[in-house]
């Protein structure tokens, strides 16, 4: 059943709506939410929602409980190919829990939280941005490590990053839900504005696997789930550009790199010169690689999980 959770007027002959698909079956009282599209330039979640809605819709008898799918928390951002909300300064994922008396964006954020809270599990799907390509991973705030890592292991992603707490991240959808007792896992994968089919299908399998473990899904032929690498915030090296230029790399993310291995080159197309050679500071697992080639000093080019130091 399609439900509208937010509906307001736009200036000229148009209604703004945020919708969800509610799939319900059986006597189970658990509620599982899949949300995405907070950042309008991240599209992997669209395929995950489609596959999940189709599959569960067709095999509704295997569902025990309620599955709610929210494909677009920021529909105007998706429509205008922008990360944020049109005509609004702040990242939508920095304004939760919103404010019923605030701006339209803050009211929307508030309505979203009110609708989701109380769920037994929430998966918030992101896909990096235009600039970076990410290995399929779950991100967990260190404050929720104990309660969430066991669930994250069931999602079939390659990597779980338990990152440090930051005040500015207290206003994310996931943090707001987690601090209010609604467990929420953040998934990051792929790159902005594109859909990687293989990754999406893996996540669909992982979500069903997690639902199965919660007693919400019963299917005898479930995919094999291999346990992910689990990494703490202080074991990650960030490689930022030393100089501005064009970053060229042959690497894909999700590979092991050696200490001193070349990650890429920053070059000057005018003079035909290499400006900087980017090398790995240690042996480790490359889980983020730059996808957008133009860099300024400081632009992030790669993230490496240093598993040597464990």
């Amino acid at each position: 059943m399609i439900k509208t959770i937010v509906s307001t007027e736009l200036p000229v002959d148009e209604q703004f709506r945020i919708k969800k698909n509610v799939l319900q079956n059986g006597k189970g009282g658990l509620r599982f939410c899949v949300v995405t599209g907070t950042h309008g330039d991240e599209l992997e979640g669209q395929m995950v929602c489609y596959e999940l809605a189709k599959l569960v819709g067709e095999e509704l008898n295997m569902l025990n409980g309620t599955l709610e799918i929210y494909p677009a928390l920021n529909p105007l951002g998706i429509d205008t190919i922008q990360r944020g909300i049109p005509n609004f300064d702040l990242d939508m994922n920095r304004i939760f829990p919103g404010d019923p008396h605030g701006t339209m964006a803050e009211q929307t954020a508030n309505a979203i939280i009110e609708d989701i809270k109380g769920a037994d599990m929430v998966i918030d799907i992101h896909s990096s941005n235009l600039y970076l390509r990410e290995t399929p991973q779950v991100r967990i705030n260190v404050q929720n490590e104990d309660s969430l890592v066991p669930y994250a292991k069931l999602l079939g992603m390659d990597f779980v990053w338990v990152h440090d707490a930051a005040t500015v991240l207290e206003a994310t959808l996931a943090h707001t839900l987690n601090t209010n007792g609604t467990p929420c896992l953040v998934v990051e994968m792929g790159v902005g504005q594109r859909i990687n089919h293989k990754m999406c299908r893996r996540l669909v399998g992982g979500i069903l696997n997690l639902m199965q473990s919660m007693g919400m899904w019963s299917d005898r032929k479930m995919p094999d789930i291999t346990p992910p690498l689990i990494c703490k915030g202080n074991q990650v090296s960030f490689l930022n550009a030393e100089t501005s230029g064009v970053f060229l790399t042959e690497l894909k993310c999700g590979v092991e790199v050696d200490k001193g291995e070349t990650i890429g080159l920053i070059v000057d197309p005018l003079k035909g010169k290499v400006l900087s050679t980017v090398t790995s500071p240690q042996r480790g697992y490359l889980f983020t690689i730059r996808a957008y080639p133009i860099v300024y000093e400081g632009s992030l080019m790669a993230r490496i999980y240093n598993y040597e130091e464990i």
């Binding site: 990360r83 944020g84 960030f238 400081g298 992030l300």
Partner: protein
């Protein structure tokens, strides 16, 4: 006056990115003034340029107090202004939400770190800021409530209003917030406008900044402009008036107008048939402190903030 380069960075396809500071006087780092941080903050940059002009004359006349040093950074972001973008063009990040910065981090974190490093030792700090909601304000001094905010000094500007605001998580990366935490008496000055130069509000703001500098004995200057005994208000106490409908917004009352309950302050007009969908009325007696300024509005958009009397 001395010009210093605060930050410099090469760019793949453009000139070097530079942030320049103008220094006046010498000795104790007393006051730093920061102008445009975003590419559309033209009013803010214009005001800084005028302050540089006034300080140049004051310095020539020996009217900067002995042992006091003043720094003015007219723009922290010339690159964005040159290509008409509000934020950093490459990744759309906001330098003003990157403080205290990180010199090993992303580009705008590095820019923020360089600016912050230059600014932290100053006793007083003024940022000419713009708001995250589009609109016009009564020119005022604003401070985030950090426990370090100095309302008494804020009143020395003699602006109509001094406001405080409870910081939300997304405010903890602003310059004003971090500047206060690092022991500078930091004030954000809102000059009414952002992407247009409004001469009247600019003059008011420039006079207020010079008045504050003279009252804190940084300069010798006699102000002849209007000097208010500031109304001190917390933003949480302001009356918020929202749009009941979306449509074309026609403002009847201006920022700064005094209103009584029942006064019509705006009309929301149907975009096709011209009928008035809503007469927006004041619900309290007071002064219009903030007004939405786009010609079209969304339903439930914040239209006005009114300071109740």
């Amino acid at each position: 006056m001395r010009i210093e380069t605060i930050f410099e960075m090469t760019s793949p396809y453009r000139d070097k990115f530079r942030i320049s500071g103008y220094k006046f006087g010498s000795g104790e780092k007393t006051l730093a003034i920061v102008g445009a941080m975003r590419g559309d903050e033209v009013q803010q940059q214009y005001i800084c340029s005028q302050i540089v002009k006034r300080l140049t004359v004051l310095e020539q006349c020996g009217d900067i107090t002995e042992g006091k040093c003043i720094l003015v950074i007219p723009s922290c972001n010339p690159f964005s202004m040159n290509v008409s973008r509000r934020f950093w063009a490459m990744d759309n990040t906001d330098i003003n939400r990157m403080f205290p910065g990180y010199d090993q981090g992303e580009t705008t974190q590095r820019i923020a770190a360089a600016i912050f490093n230059t600014l932290i030792e100053y006793k007083y700090g003024i940022q000419l800021a713009s708001f995250y909601v589009p609109g016009n304000f009564v020119p005022h001094v604003r401070m985030l409530r950090t426990g370090y905010e100095d309302i008494d000094t804020a009143c020395l500007f003699g602006m109509k209003f001094v406001t405080t605001c409870e910081p939300r998580p997304f405010d903890t990366t602003l310059l004003n917030y971090n500047w206060q935490l690092w022991n500078t008496k930091a004030f954000s000055v809102y000059a009414g406008q952002t992407d247009q130069i409004d001469i009247e509000n600019s003059e008011t703001t420039i006079d207020a900044i010079l008045r504050m500098m003279s009252r804190t004995k940084i300069i010798h200057h006699k102000s002849i402009a209007i000097d208010y005994r500031s109304i001190i208000a917390d933003e949480g106490e302001l009356q918020h008036i929202k749009a009941g409908h979306a449509g074309i917004l026609y403002r009847v009352q201006r920022v700064g107008s005094r209103v009584v309950p029942g006064d019509t302050i705006a009309h929301i007009i149907h975009p096709y048939n011209g009928q008035i969908l809503e007469e927006v009325k004041a619900t309290t007696e007071g002064i219009i402190f903030f007004a939405h300024h786009r010609p079209v509005v969304l339903q439930n958009a914040l239209l006005f903030m009114i300071y109740s009397i």
